[in-house]
Amino acid sequence: MLLETRHISKSFGGVQALKDVNLGLEAGEVRGLVGENGAGKSTLIKLLTGVYHLREGTVLWDGKAVSLTSPAESQALGIHAIHQDRTLIPTFDGIENAYLGLDYPTRHGKIDWKAMAARVQSVTESLGLELDLRKTAAALPPPQRTCLEIVRARMRECRLLILDEPTAALTDREAERLFSVVQTLKKNGTAILYVTHRLDEIFRLTDRVTVLRNGAVVDTVETGSVDRDRLITLMTDSVPVRAASRRRTFGGVLLAARNVASRDGSVHCGELYARSGEILGLFGLGGSGRTELLECVYGCRPMSVGTVELNGAVQTKPTPASSLQNGMALICEDRRGKALIGDLDVRDNILLTSIDRFAVGGVLRRKAEDAAVRAQIDALQIKLADMRQRIAELSGGNQQKAVFARAMMTAPRVFLCDEPTQAVDVLTRNEIHRLLRLKADEGCAVVFVSSDLSELLEVADTVQVMRRGSAAQRLINENLTAQQVLSCCYET
């Protein structure tokens, strides 16, 4: 056995991301790894590639116990991963990118560019690839970049290649070429761990499939022995969705987005509408464009075509300022510092969208501001020492509450929520759900994006599914099961 993991676990601040995972991989095997968002796939990959420190459990490599404490160690063993977020240097050409992290060959103390080019070229050809290696990575189309990363992995001894959603950015034809590369690698005895949401690829490429759910291995099966429905059943929790009091009658349409396409191509034909009193769940797999659609609607991602109708005002080029003006607020998870400004204090962060509202004759009314902020802090029970402390010092849950507090300051009628409960403990999560329901009952419309399907089904009245950048089915959440929603996400 090439790779064997024994009882590996990983937790982040009390959240168990992986539980007691046992996995065995043979050389020359293509293994599929599937599971819902948050099932633990990325965590497993990061453990194997040394990005996360492995503390619980053991990893055997060729039957010998190894420590995986850094990417360098993992690569030295021959484990390479190709991620969704690319790791090429855009301004370097193919040859230098392939050599990243390796020693450049020298001749008389000078870099031997010829030898470098020849070596990269031969590796490229051995994989049956055609690549213009003189082009910079930035100038290559996305599929060729993926190929270049495979070349880079092959430059070293690569005995296990982990492909993480490798076709997310590829067209069908480009994907075909990637599949043939996978076959070539397999013939050469490289083991491949193939992680994807696209089940058709699992059936085409893999020998066996491992299914993860909630951080644990549910089963590992021969690919030939299961069908698509069986796989989805394995992936989704069969626990029935909790029945919550859901609304069936709604007011008028407050927000309608029609035929939205983003300029960067991540959304082709996005549609959604949300009515007064409604919580609309927007769901799709990674890369389906659900967050991107939300950003287009709010105005922080450029739209090429489409209209957004908000409280009766029609716009083709919404901006965050116009959205806020028309009564819509965006609540997002604080990825890449989009939601909060860490250097500012709690008070200024909460006031960020309503700076002008507290100015009288061009002068800020500090007392009125303080009172308004204090009211929100009390209403949401944000725990802090002082509203003048830096927001970065608050806990994740309280930071998320501060993002909510800010949204409340402008008294919006439409709430766009992008993963509002990510990195938040269960208690706060329930509070946020309750708050959104309260707002809906007051006549607001809520659009709720979550990659956690069971959460979505717990909260949403209606579910809009997105698939590959376009709107798919719209489902009424009446005893809707995860399986029903997921089967809309996978193309038939």
Partner: protein
Amino acid sequence: MRQNKAAVRRTLQSYGTVLALLAIVLAFSAIRPGSFCTLTNFINITRQISLLVVISLGATVVMSVGEFDLSVGEMASLGGVMAAQMAVAGAPLALCFTVPILASAAVGLINGFVVARFQALSFITTLGMSTVLSGVVYRLSGGATVFENIPDGFSALGTAKLGRVPLLSILMAAFVLLFWFLMRHTPAGRKFYAIGGGEEAARIAGIRVKKYKILTFVLCAVMACVTGMLIASRVGSANTTAGDGYFLKSYAAVFIGCTASRRGVPNVLGTLLGAAILGILANGLTMLQMPTYMQDIITGAIIVLSVVAQRLGREEGQ
């Protein structure tokens, strides 16, 4: 013991810059009690730093949104030359001072537009602008200092006194107050800091990032122009390179000022403090008859140290 250490460290971080200023004042007072530590000299110092403070206020605003304007020196020279030439040509004084200000606002608008619209590096953009401006100054002046036939009224601004206090010092105080109010008590100031703290988050919060960035460049260029005109008025002539020396010193003042703020961000009172440290050093070292090159070495070292101190302060915070 450890707590004590941490407390000392925090105090040093909060008041270190003020303490440094006090230490410098005390040192010079001890060495030259008769000439340094006198009311006359302190009034003198306020006049000496006034021009640096005025130009640094503009730089403070640009830096609060996380950008640089490296064209302030050339802008100051241009402002001085334009105003002086108009005065020599016999234009009414009011016009002599308003036309250059409008011109500088246009320059700031261009700087800001290029940086905000095309997300160009402000460093390079304004460096290019500064070269353009030096060409314009040369075209206007032919490279010669404007000094003949400058009317008395033109020089009054830079030389007049109210009692013992120079008008320049009063102007400086007024500008400091104005900018302090702008940065602390108006929506614009709050938005500047939000943009400087996180442009993307500010944009998503509905702040018109481009508009406010452009505004900072306009303010900065105008303040540079005002400084240039005050220099010309003060010395009664307009040199084509009069503003050169102010560029680096103004950013030095802002950087030293950052160390005086809890979060390490540019702020008006800090900038005043920074300019005071630089001005008092220059004043005192001259009094000690320290050669100019030694003054340069000492001032430069202090600038580098202040940048390091600013980074250290930030790390502590995070």
